[in-house]
Symmetry: C2
Subunit: 627 residues, 2 copies
């Protein structure tokens, strides 16, 4: 008997309207674990080469992990993976909340969605049952409305709903999946994929609790977490949410400002965690069974920017992208824009970064007020920022252009390509490779484009040598150079984080240097849930397998090294503050990338070699790639 | 404070007669652990390129591990490593008994020996002290005599002595290091290296017990071992010693017979474990604190072949090499030859295999009775076998030729090169790649030449899927084909066994499929001894580091792929029994080797790439190699 899993994956063919249940068997679960690891397996298996991201042939997987549903922090996450309409390559995003734990209670470990419905539908999954229901009345509605409507229709206020929003329906390429009206699988347009299939939402509710092999061990680990939270590095997140990192980033010149022209923002204090707590954040929220409780709840009842509690509040990334990226220091405006992103179902990072790009163009005279429809897109214009975000949500006017994302918008308008801060078409998140040098490499080589949640960031290393030693990272790191030791550090921590993603666990909680639980406790959690005598070696290999599957997926479409490049923005010296004059040295980056490819077992095209795939028991993938 | 180590390595410069103490520091210990892992580090660091194995520039390390001295099975082993006079490349051998645990009690973790003494000396190490003493009177003496003499001279009967023998002194290239008069670091001529330095013996005695981080955890693991011995696969070794495997090997056609011409031996029953127990094995012996107690004690008081208890008894390898390899089914003759090897200090594998090669040549008329000095070297001639072994020990007559090992002897005589069963000049041990196909690969690529203790053997896999799953080996193995999955299996288990060697633990006890303790318990033992939160990932990387250091050492001398080849013998079909007609398919082997190189991160020359070395934090080695 499987522990930690129900052993069932729900397959949804929207073209045929057919629901089938697959039982993959223990070996598949152990090899891929779940989340976007198992999702990458389905993506490669079921999606033909050169698939249209918005066509019925795209495969969207939403998969939980073996610990999901246990009363322990960091487990209620769902990994979404599909071909991205934003980047054209593999796209994936992780989301928290309560939806994942509730999906687990329905008796399914995950859902794999293909095809395209003729009319809008939603999927209702409950206690081993699933059905497709009419969603005509939900189309075009905001997140909270949809949630309420489904709960009303099914007469169960405890149903959890994951959905795409009006932006995705309208074709905005960075549509997010929203659950609880305030949690997002944000990046890469996973919401847009779901909308393209005319699947509005997935409602889940169940009482089929998963069986864990060693519930006592899980409880002990949960207890340990609660007892050690205060002394851990995530305690700041407990106090102020992810916003807690904003001022420290600014202090070292690592807060992207005015479309990555500077690493310091004079208005940082006004969009910081402490300031939010004093002004617009009356409460905090949590994911299922988590003690970290890092989610902000914001409320603004007066003034031009109203914010409802239900739509949550801006994370650090959002405070940066809709704040400092745009030169906006009005935290209420940022919170309002954040709410709009949740209402319309949009990724706040790509949205904010695209607006920042447009502002940069506007300041350079590359985009005119005529083009923006009269909006004065200057850096720092809070009102304009909020206005353009709403226009993107409805995909109207200049918002229709920006809804394509910064890279496509630059191409469409024929201007500002040198100002685009994106890799593989995915906008840069708010951690700067100029001051965390390993991120230059990780942003570039990540199969899905720039991502700050794929490896440990540089400065985290020094403070936690014990946890890094478990990864065989024993040598001191150079502070700000991409030498071979730093590449090794990036490679190993990337595999660990990839394993955490395969287990669909929260990276703030599990598996790293500064997280609540270290690598060995990550292993413990998986072992306690599944009963498998898993090792860190095995989990690192699971993580490596996921990365290689995604790279192989891209390789099958001919995408490799030529896409692992840095935007011009990162090569241009920053202005002001501690990072004044700092740029990513191109030669150092290129040497590191070559070293990384070799260490990773990829060829000069950046494609996994047959030997590497075979070493990871992915011979079937090598066969599909040929050569 | 270090746990599991004293933190001190004794460096002996015999040319200068200088003894110095190095404190390598925690990072070095954690990266290389000990045994031949740490020894490989010293070998690479201190030995110049193209060093004469018998010159003062060769570096001989004798290093214990972090668990040595604890009251737990499998820890009292010392790893010896140096350039081999038999092969000209890196040579290493592990030895058990009591010496390693006693060395640990002297306050040193290991001894690194360089230079060459003007006159014979021995090293006396006791409680943090060390001195070189005159050994003129010990030169030329047999193992037991030397042991008694040193104990007498130092007035301590509990001293443990590790020594080279008269064979090594005389220049036999496969001289062993013998301790307790019956335990050997057998292979690769480590005794010959010690003799070339005019260091006769190392006597150890101490009361400086190492401090372990978690003695209770070690005790619990020891208790678990005692409780689970009977149901484990090593219980047969407890009952009959390693000889226990002889009949099963014969049953599947895997007992090398008449110089590898057949896999079945009609006299197998007469050299089997049960037969030994009934006839010449009155008792069994153990290593320090081990419950497996696999060492045979043999005694023969009548007839032509006398055997004393003190010299122990033949292991499986010896029963094969001096028995079935030579067609000899007289177990008393084999036991006598085994005693001669221990008295003279010779590797029973290379010795027996070289005799078998000579017999094969003799049967083919390539070596004449005139050349052998009248000895009728027919297969099956027990008396001739014993006689020639003694002649090798004194390096006289035809024994002087065979003391060069089979490969050099064939070259010197200009005959029988196609009959040599050796790789890199090291004679094949008694596990047949024809029926355990992964060994074809492992024998070939092992840096030190053919070795049966560097990876799990094929048939062991199926019975222990749980322990293999910890290594991420989840897929069923093809029974007898060297496909990519089998290469992967060999690669991963090789790293594990290499880690066990780095920890200087016994491979019968720790770290594998059929061993007493599985991989996770190996991790537990290291963690309990050191207090480090080590992971299987980290230990696998330590193991990989050791392999790559040794390959890099060879590469620096220009040795690589051209030496990773199979002897003609393995490509010729066997005759008789279940393996009748079976040969190692050359194409399959060559494809597997190419796959292995790629998986291992080695180039087409079989040299570790710079990227692989850097990935293993061996950038300093890459710098030495250049390129």
């Amino acid at each position: 008997m499987l522990h930690g899993y129900h052993g069932k994956i729900l397959h949804v063919d929207l073209t045929a309207g057919a629901l089938t249940v697959e039982e993959p068997g223990e070996a598949i679960y152990r090899k891929y674990l779940g989340g976007t690891g198992l999702g990458a397996y389905y993506l490669f298996k079921h999606t033909p080469p050169h698939a249209d991201p918005l066509g019925p042939e795209n495969t969207l997987s939403l998969i939980t992990g073996p610990v999901a549903g246990a009363a322990i922090p960091g487990q209620s996450r769902v990994g979404a993976i599909a071909v991205s309409p934003l980047t054209g390559v593999v796209g994936e995003a992780s989301g928290g909340g309560f939806w994942a734990a509730e999906l687990k209670n329905t008796g399914f470990d995950g859902i794999v969605i293909r095809g395209q419905a003729a009319r809008p539908v939603y999927l209702w999954v409950h206690d081993g049952q699933a059905e497709l229901r009419d969603a005509a009345s939900l189309w075009g509605k905001f997140a909270a409305e949809v949630e309420d409507a489904i709960r009303g229709e099914l007469s169960d206020p405890r149903i959890h709903v994951l959905q795409c929003g009006p932006a995705a329906e309208a074709g905005v390429r960075f549509g997010a999946l929203i659950n609880n009206a305030n949690r997002a699988n944000g990046r890469s347009g996973m919401g847009t994929v779901m909308a393209s299939k005319r699947l509005k939402a997935i409602a889940v509710r169940g009482s089929l609790r998963p069986h864990f092999a060693d519930p006592k061990a899980l409880s002990a680990l949960a207890r340990w977490g609660a007892q050690h939270l205060a002394e851990s590095s995530v305690s700041g997140m407990h106090d102020f949410g992810t916003a807690n990192v904003l001022l420290p980033q600014n202090l070292v010149g690592g807060l992207p400002t005015r479309n990555w022209s500077s690493g310091v923002f004079e208005g940082a204090g006004l969009i910081s965690g402490p300031y939010m707590a004093e002004t617009i954040r009356p409460a905090t929220d949590t994911c299922f069974a988590c003690v970290v409780a890092c989610k902000p709840v914001t409320e603004v009842t007066e003034g031009p920017f109203s914010v409802e509690r239900r739509y949550g509040g801006p994370e650090y990334e959002t405070l940066a992208t809709l704040g400092s990226y745009c030169g906006v220091s009005d935290v209420k405006a940022v919170a309002r824009a954040n709410q709009l992103c949740n209402m319309y179902g949009m990724d706040t990072i790509s949205c904010g970064a695209t607006v920042a790009w447009a502002m940069d163009c506007y300041e350079h005279g590359l985009i005119t007020r005529e083009q923006t429809g009269g909006i004065d897109l200057r850096f720092g214009n809070a009102e304009a920022m909020v206005r353009i975000v709403e226009l993107i949500g409805v995909r109207e006017g200049f918002g229709a252009v920006l809804g394509e994302g910064s890279a496509r918008a630059a191409q469409a308008l024929g201007v500002g390509q040198e100002l685009v801060a994106a890799i593989k078409g995915r906008e840069l998140p708010a951690h700067m490779p100029q001051v965390k040098r390993s991120l230059a490499l990780m942003y570039a080589v990540n199969p899905g484009g720039a991502d700050h949640t794929v490896s440990e960031h540089d400065p985290d290393y020094a403070g936690f040598p014990e946890r890094m030693a478990e990864l065989d990272l024993l040598d001191p790191q150079p502070a700000n150079a991409l030498n071979a030791e730093k590449v090794r550090y990036a490679l190993y921590t990337q595999r660990l984080v990839s394993a955490v993603d395969s287990a669909s666990l929260c990276w703030f909680v599990f598996g790293g240097a500064w997280q609540l639980y270290g690598p060995s406790q990550f292993v413990e959690a998986i072992a306690a849930a599944t009963g498998w005598n898993v090792s860190l070696w095995e989990l690192m290999k699971v993580g490596e397998r996921r990365i290689n599957l995604m790279r192989a997926f891209n390789a099958r479409d001919g995408v490799g090294a030529e896409a692992d490049v840095l935007p011009a923005k990162l090569l241009k010296p920053l202005v002001g503050g501690p990072s004044d004059g700092v740029a990513v040295p191109l030669e150092e980056f290129e040497a590191a990338r070559a070293t990384y490819y070799r260490m990773a077992g990829w060829d000069e095209r950046g494609h996994p070699t047959r030997a590497k795939l075979e070493e990871l028991a992915l011979g079937w993938v090598a066969d599909e790639l040929g050569g």
